[in-house]
Amino acid sequence: MSQPSSLNQSTPLEYSTEDGRLKIFGFWVFLGAEVILFSCLFASYMVYLHRTAGGPTPNDLYDVKEFMIETFLLLTSSFTCGLATHELRRNNKTGVIVWFIITLILGLGFVGMEAHEFVDYVGEGAKLSTSAFLTSFFTLVGTHGCHVSLGILWISGILIQTARHGINAVTARKLFIVGLYWHFLDVVWVFIFTVVYLTGMVL
């Protein structure tokens, strides 16, 4: 709410204004809500795991190579996003933009592969309406995919702003928050990798 006050050099730029501090804290609280949201989807998925209603089972569908590449892309993107935040702390605009663009490319690769995976499944007759298992699979993984897609749009918008206005208290706060969001999605994917794909291959 309040405007930039005198900058304190010892605190990072995104925390230097009251506005920045409030919004970052608010975003953490929001992420708390997101944790609950995904927990519900995970719990539902576990309930429906074996309710395949004679349709395809996890074992029939999941392809190790594909979900390993997806995982690799997303985990790497989280690392490059971390490097972007590092450059943000060093006040290096070019570095921030370059690392975020690499993050975006990796993210796009992930979303592309996931879309391809979904299309494949539907082609094999594994549709959302086939069984409760598939409804919950598409809902859980799809919700994550929608989050990543939204993140890509969001990062793009903030990169344009950073390119225009440089790194200041406002853009630093926005870059930092979108970074939090991206890392959060990465953590969710680690759980999807374990609960959905690994469990699906083993059980």
Partner: protein, 654 residues
């Protein structure tokens, strides 16, 4: 063309019911009158600038309360229709189908579009003032919250005349609420309307939590906050952890109904009990979301009108924390009879009974606050005093229901209906009326007439007991919930008739309240002091109504009941005479209401399964978000001279 006409007459507009034609006419007439009045008095610009685009927490609070009163009217009319139908055996005021719709909309509206927004409205008005803040943490988001709620409420109410109302109960149990057993779009209105309002509520929860944790006046430690603020903080935390569950449950049922999913269907591996569990994992905390702020309101009011500090302040805080934790581990008690087995039922029965311990602690604290105090029997305090015994009846019958074995007798009977009305009305509704009366001068600058207020109080409270006490007995006599009529000869008629009379008394009480609001607007006593009740907390330290910036100088807090402490130490003058500086405030914005408009379009389209239009609506939502992100908005400053002028007019500085 004829296909289109067929669609409009059979699937789009609800036809064939005289009551609905009357509603159509009423809606058109009221809309025309509102438009005409606004145009005639040239109030369009005023409406847009002062209300529709506001980000001021006090105005948003008033908007919430106005909407909640309108919804109380709608839900109340539903209730009276039901009571009329049940007044005597074999009546056919409503047919079975229409009765199902009415009890569904009554429950949904009263909980989600009346109780919650009423309390969120009071929180908006009072909480930032109580902690000495200039606004909430995210004023723009606050406006989005309100308009999303408004869009959700509009969408839900629209179902009455377009598409048909939902009819599977406010709990919308599956598989009954699934497409196969409940075709038509009624349930879709329920799902999307609640989804929109729910997202708004989640945003409010985040907003209030951050505001309280980060924006308190200097010196106000957590354990020095007013009790209403404490209750708001705990409620916000419950909202943040409970509402995502509702979001997911609604989304899952939407996927089932509109996209052919199988979460809760009885076929293809679906599991209807998942809905019941998810609904109540949200639903039970929701009960505490609507009761904890009520506890906060009563605490502040009883302490003020007893002229004493609240007895057992820290016990109050810890009991609320205990309730908030317990609220998440009792959900199964809503379906003891649905095949959980003895062990699970016992665990949830005991956790449910455990809630009565912290609640009992609070009851005694309120009583001890009044011990040897000079209690002033103002209307706000009367509501609080009536709350205690009436709520205890609801609480004790709740403990009876918590005995799982006995619940097989009570389950879904009128005993249950009486129980939850006894907690929700004596708790939440009494608190809404108490809070409205208490903070009314802070909102509008004048006091609600006390004499008329007492009439509302007595008529409503007597009506309430006449209405619901007989229902306990009807429950024991075997009358089940949601029956649309009953045969003669069961001996149910006298008690039903009495109950109906009580219901209408409550309706009359509501009319007197509305009359009081109109009367007081014209002839009400002005509050020139800003402190009409001898208040103890900071909201009474500023003018009535509070200026846009709330406080010319942020007060410094030393004790619980900070304003009382300032008055006692003669520090008020000194504080008022501090030099005034420019104050930074956020700018108004028209985008929240436009964004909610797009959400409404998307929601309406999804109800009818018009995916292309839903995508257009969501695109609109994204564009408004993008515009916000690219906007450079530093807010504005209210200059020192202007503040001094305002304060001088309020005669707070010489």
């Amino acid at each position: 063309m004829s296909k289109l006409i067929h669609f409009l007459l059979h699937d789009f507009f609800v036809t064939g019911e005289p009551m609905i034609y009357m509603a159509d006419v009423a809606i058109v007439l009221v809309s025309v009158v509102i438009l005409a009045v606004l145009t005639y008095f040239k109030r369009w610009k005023w409406l847009w600038r002062e209300w529709l685009t506001t980000v001021d927490h006090k105005k948003i609070g008033i908007l919430y309360i106005l909407a909640a009163l309108a919804m109380l009217f709608r839900g109340g009319v539903d209730a009276l229709l039901m009571r009329t139908q049940l007044a005597a055996p074999n009546l056919h005021v409503l047919d079975a189908e229409h009765y199902n719709e009415i009890f569904t909309t009554h429950g949904t509206i009263m909980i989600l579009f009346m109780a919650m927004p009423f309390l969120i409205g009071l929180i908006n008005v009072a909480m930032p003032l109580q902690i000495g803040a200039r606004d909430v943490a995210f004023p723009y988001l606050n406006a989005i919250s309100f308009w999303l709620f408004a869009a959700g409420a509009m969408l839900f109410n629209l179902s009455f005349v377009i598409g048909g109302s939902p009819d599977a109960g406010w709990t919308s149990y599956t598989p009954l609420a699934e497409k196969g057993l409940d075709p038509g779009v009624g349930e879709n209105f329920y799902l999307i309307g609640l989804q929109l309002a729910g997202i708004g509520t989640l945003a409010s929860g985040v907003n209030f939590a951050v505001t309280i944790l980060k924006m308190r006046a200097p010196g106000m430690k957590l354990m020095k906050m007013p009790m209403f603020t404490w209750s708001t903080l705990i409620t916000s935390i419950i909202i943040v952890f409970a509402f995502p569950v509702l979001t997911v449950a609604l989304a899952m049922l939407t996927i089932d109904r509109i996209f052919g999913g199988h979460f809760f269907t009885a076929t293809a591996g679906g599991e209807p009990m998942m809905w019941v569990n998810l609904f109540w994992i949200w639903g039970h905390p929701e009960v505490y979301i609507v009761i904890l702020p009520a506890f906060g309101i009563f605490s502040d009011i009883i302490s003020t009108f007893s002229g004493k500090r609240l007895f057992g302040y820290s016990a109050m805080v810890y009991s609320m924390l205990a309730i908030s934790v317990l609220s998440f581990v009792v959900w199964v008690h809503h379906f003891f009879t649905m095949g959980n087995g003895g062990t699970i039922n016992s665990v949830f029965g005991i956790s449910t009974m455990a809630i009565s311990i912290p609640t009992g602690v609070k009851i005694f604290n309120w009583l001890f606050t009044m011990y040897r105090a000079k209690v002033r029997f103002t209307v706000a305090n009367l509501w609080s005093l009536a709350f205690i015994p009436n709520f205890v009846i609801g609480g004790v019958t709740g403990v009876m229901l918590a005995v799982a074995a006995a619940d097989y007798q009570y389950h879904n009977s009128y005993f249950l209906v009486a129980h939850f009305h006894n907690v929700l009305i004596a708790g939440t509704v009494f608190a809404c009326f108490a809070g409205l009366t208490y903070w009314y001068p802070k909102m509008f600058g004048h006091i609600l007439n006390e004499r008329i207020g007492k009439w509302t109080f007595w008529v409503f409270v007597i009506g309430f007991n006449v209405c619901f006490i007989p229902q306990y007995f009807l429950g024991f006599m075997g009358m089940t919930r949601r029956v649309y009529t009953y045969p003669a000869g069961l001996g149910w008629m006298p008690l039903n008739l009495i109950s109906t009379i009580g219901g209408f008394l409550m309706g009359i009480g509501f009319i007197i309240l509305v009359w009081n609001i109109l009367y007081s607007a014209l002839l009400g006593k002005r509050d020139m002091t800003g402190d009409p009740w001898g208040g103890r907390t900071l909201e009474w330290a500023t003018t009535s109504p509070a200026a846009e910036y709330n406080f010319a100088n942020v007060p410094e807090v030393e004790e619980i009941d900070a304003f009382h402490d300032m008055k006692k130490k003669n520090k008020v003058k000194e504080w008022l005479n501090k030099p005034i500086k420019d104050i930074h405030m956020p700018n108004n914005s028209g985008r929240p209401i436009i964004m909610a408009g797009f959400f409404f379009v998307a929601g309406f389209a999804l109800v009818f399964g018009w995916i292309w239009l839903a995508i257009v609506g969501l695109l609109g939502v994204f564009i408004t978000m993008l515009l916000r992100s690219f906007e450079i908005d530093h807010g504005h400053h209210i200059h020192k001279e202007e503040i001094e002028r305002t304060e001088r007019i309020a005669r707070r500085i010489p």
